[in-house]
């Protein structure tokens, strides 16, 4: 098993109505339940933050400093046998369509 980071970009859920969010919730719950042990965690990120490029340059802060579809909304950590399985898991996620999902493997083998 390898670990994958699913990076979600966009602001899709901001545009859903309360009824739509409640409907999405059921699918979201199902997705996590089906993943079982393969689901390792996840978090949303605040839209504001800072972007640093080098120690001397000024810090770009108090965003959103990117176009909304480029903002990282959050991430999931999952376990999958390989890239193909990780992609499949991302495909089944109810977030896809609302967000762009980047599926990236942690470098293998992971050093403890």
């Amino acid at each position: 098993m390898r670990e994958f980071l699913l990076i979600l970009r966009g602001d899709g859920m901001n545009h859903l109505s309360p009824d739509e969010l409640q409907a999405l919730f059921a699918n979201y719950q199902k997705w996590v339940a089906e993943l079982g042990e393969q689901y390792l965690g996840g978090q949303r990120l605040e839209e504001e933050g800072a972007l640093l490029t080098n120690p001397t340059e000024e810090i770009l802060t108090d965003g959103p400093f990117l176009a909304s579809k480029e903002i990282i909304a959050g991430y999931f950590m999952i376990q999958a046998a390989d890239q193909a399985e990780a992609n499949e898991i991302a495909k089944r996620s109810p977030h896809l369509g609302l967000y762009q999902i980047e599926v990236r493997s942690l470098v293998f083998p992971k050093m403890k």
Partner: protein, 421 residues
């Protein structure tokens, strides 16, 4: 992992969102309705993230309020500079925490919703904006849902809401329940807006049945909040009675396939007796004073229909009298159309057709589908088939509604069959 399988109460997010936007607007002031909406949106997203990966809390609604409160406090600290002025007028020396705790008490939530109703229906906004804003903020509808319900487009609704909020900011509309001399005209505006909201749902000839019904239910829910707070306001009780009577007939208006059933042929056993009883209760409450509003008359007419055991047993004379009074209060060619239809019950269809043709000549209802449709149906019933065909084909040109077109075509078919025999 998700182990909790209790489903959420239907529309929990929507109803809670409506309440939370009202409570947060009370905290921030009417200039910050958008901020209140953003915090509520973020609260709901936080909820589905947590509940999906953990479990649904025992009391989901209380959980939502708790999170909204934390987010609001965070936001107030962040925007201290802007909000301090408002806090001063609202709570004196009380801290944010005490203030927010008071506002989030359950009885204060109803109070906040009342303030929100008066804000959304403020006379400085036109009725189209009032209705859209009410649906968005008080009823928890999304932009797309408001557009679908009002048969408009999301971008039109978006612009309308944006301008309405801007207007509220510029006019510095206070978040208050009006009192004294100011109350009567403000209540009148609120009644009209809720009446129109209800009619959007009840009379829509196109669109999604389910959504249309939601509009009616929401209009009734909001009117009830008002009636509870102002039990002595007869007009409000009359309006609520009217809504009860109309809603009672909601299910009987269409058959299993969604086709229109004309009033005369509706199955009266499908009328909702509980709603009729409730309507009678509010109607009797509405006659405490001497005031007779258009809502009283419309409720009276609807009650007369609901109380008749059959179409034939309807008290047409009483209904006619109330329509005549109504026409004196608010003259309107549709009332004249209704009077002409009632005439068919009192003096026969030929007399009624004569009146209808005068109405048609007057031209006020030139684009109103129900006028030629009624003429067509009466002519058909009098076996004057060629004339009926002319009227029905005229009616066909005046509607886009699939169910109305199907209904007219069925009548045209009946004419053709009769003419061939």
């Amino acid at each position: 992992m998700s182990t909790h399988t209790n489903p959420l109460v239907e529309h929990l997010f929507r109803t809670t969102a409506g309440k939370m936007v009202a409570a947060l607007t009370r905290l921030f002031g009417t200039s910050y309705i958008q901020l209140a909406e953003d915090i509520v949106q973020d609260t709901l997203i936080t909820a589905i993230n947590h509940w999906s990966t953990d479990k649904i809390p025992e009391q989901p609604e209380a959980w939502l309020w708790q999170v909204a409160k934390r987010k609001a406090l965070n936001e107030m600290q962040r925007k201290k500079m802007i909000l301090r002025y408002h806090q001063g007028e609202l709570a004196g020396s009380e801290s944010y925490h005490q203030e927010i705790d008071t506002i989030f008490l359950s009885h204060e939530i109803a109070d906040s919703q009342l303030r929100m109703i008066f804000t959304c229906c403020h006379p400085s906004l036109n009725t189209a904006s009032q209705i859209a804003l009410t649906l968005k903020t008080l009823c928890g509808f999304g932009i797309k849902e408001v557009a679908r319900a009002l048969l408009s487009t999301p971008s039109t609704i978006n612009k309308r809401l944006y301008r309405a909020k801007q207007k509220i900011r510029q006019s510095e509309i206070p978040f208050l329940i009006p009192s004294g001399k100011k109350l009567a005209p403000r209540l009148e505006a609120v009644c009209l807006s809720l009446y129109l909201l209800f009619n959007e749902g009840y009379n829509a000839s196109t669109g999604n049945q389910l959504i249309q019904k939601e509009l009616c239910l929401e209009a009734m829910r909001l009117t009830k909040i008002l009636v509870d707070h102002f039990p002595e306001q007869d007009t409000l009780s009359a309006l609520l009675a009217l809504m009860c009577f109309h809603s009672a007939r909601f299910e009987a208006r269409l058959d299993d396939k969604g086709a229109i059933i004309i009033f005369e042929e509706q199955d009266r056993s499908k009328w909702n007796r509980d709603l009729i009883t409730e309507g009678m209760l509010y109607l009797s409450r509405s006659t405490q004073g001497s005031l007779l509003s258009a809502y009283h008359l419309e409720a009276g007419i609807a009650a007369a229909h609901c109380l008749a055991d059959s179409f034939a047993a309807t008290n047409w004379a009483s209904i006619k009298k109330q329509y005549q009074l109504l026409h004196r209060l608010k003259p309107n060619p549709i009332i004249l159309l209704n009077l002409a239809i009632i005439e068919s019950q009192l003096n026969g269809k030929r007399a009624s057709l004569q009146t209808l043709s005068h109405l048609a000549k007057a031209g006020d209802l030139a684009n109103y589908y129900l006028l030629p449709a009624t003429q067509g149906i009466f002519s058909l019933q009098l076996k004057d088939y060629p004339q009926a065909l002319l009227f029905l084909e005229q009616a066909l040109q005046l509607t886009d509604s699939a169910s109305e077109i199907a209904f007219i075509q069925q009548k045209i078919q009946a004419c053709r069959v009769a003419m061939a025999n």
